[in-house]
Symmetry: none
Subunit: 214 residues, 2 copies
Amino acid sequence: MRKNIKIFIADDHHIFRKGIRSILADDKTIEVIGEASNGDEAFEMLSRLKPDIALLDIDMPGLSGLDVARKLKQNNSQIKSIILTIHKDREYFDEAMELDIKAYVLKDSIANDLIDCIKKVNEGAYYISPAISGYLVEKRAGRKEPTQLDKLTSTEKQILKLIAQNKTSHQIADELFRSIRTIENHRNNICTKLGLKGPHALLIFAIENKDQIS
Amino acid sequence: MRKNIKIFIADDHHIFRKGIRSILADDKTIEVIGEASNGDEAFEMLSRLKPDIALLDIDMPGLSGLDVARKLKQNNSQIKSIILTIHKDREYFDEAMELDIKAYVLKDSIANDLIDCIKKVNEGAYYISPAISGYLVEKRAGRKEPTQLDKLTSTEKQILKLIAQNKTSHQIADELFRSIRTIENHRNNICTKLGLKGPHALLIFAIENKDQIS
DNA sequence: TTTTCTTTAGGTAGAACTACCTAGAAAATT
DNA sequence: AATTTTCTAGGTAGTTCTACCTAAAGAAAA
């Protein structure tokens, strides 16, 4: 027998969480393992409970659902994010797409196929509400995250390149005739600018984006 | 003025190393910074001397030239490997191609263009002896290393998977209900088995091969 | 049965990176 | 000219990983 799909619900309306739970209760393979009524609490609980999928509302006190998804992405979390929202606005959708979000579902169309959506997402697929999916077509062409690499100065990009070659700060310092403290300082600034956190987030970012570094 | 190209020669025949040196002596921009007569010594010296290019014979006592190239690759070394060999066999060539080797030169055709070959390789190009280059065309389709992942036990592979998700030893230990020392010990064993060395060699290997981990 | 391999876990040391600081000099902007 | 940004470099602390050890218990193989 297959393992249950573990779900976490984040929405500031109690009645809405109830509704979701009742929809999901029909399916024995889906298990709601927790819920939160604001973004900060949601992020904390997600980090701890590690569900398979997070159902996130955009409008919440504190961190928004998109903020939570962003933090999950920054932490290289394996949790798949589904956005549940009333917003049809293109802006929100575009932002969500930048965040590796697996599904974007309008609240007025969930009753029908939320379970289906969850199962597909759990298998690695994407799901976009029909009312929204038109945006997707135009998108994808101009793919290519307007990477935040432009935020970096040229020195920082140079160092990022060397990091991508798996060089240590010490090696980089030698190569550029700089103090290792200078290199470490640049690393820190890069991490701050890109919102990278944790032990090897910078190295991994550098490797994954090495082709984009100009 | 451009920096000299630093070369290292590994071959078990003294007379052959002499020959190479005399060919290379004609060019002032090429500098032979060391040589070795067996694979183990070669690898040790390469790690220490860090030349730009390593000329490796396949047939050597101990580690073969291909073994040396493999270990260099595993260490994410920046050293470019050129294989010099008498073997026209396809097997050897195929193996070499899996190892990011920059040039594969038959010994009976080196006198003419070894210098040229070295310079091209130094600029990032590839060079394959004409007698061999026919193999190349068919190749490239069935790409896919028969990775040495089989050397690992199932526990080790499990941990490697978690490492590929950029989890720290601490996180892995928590997840598997083991001591962090156990995890660290497994990491060490994996590194030893795969010949990985240096600060983040394991993390990078894990990420690059995450799809292959079964 | 003996030997080897695997898994577990601890000891010690050092290198590397992260996370925050401060601060001066140079360069670029306003 | 004044302000801001960038680059440089140091201080301190703590975490993570590497690199060596040893060692016991259990499983698998010889």
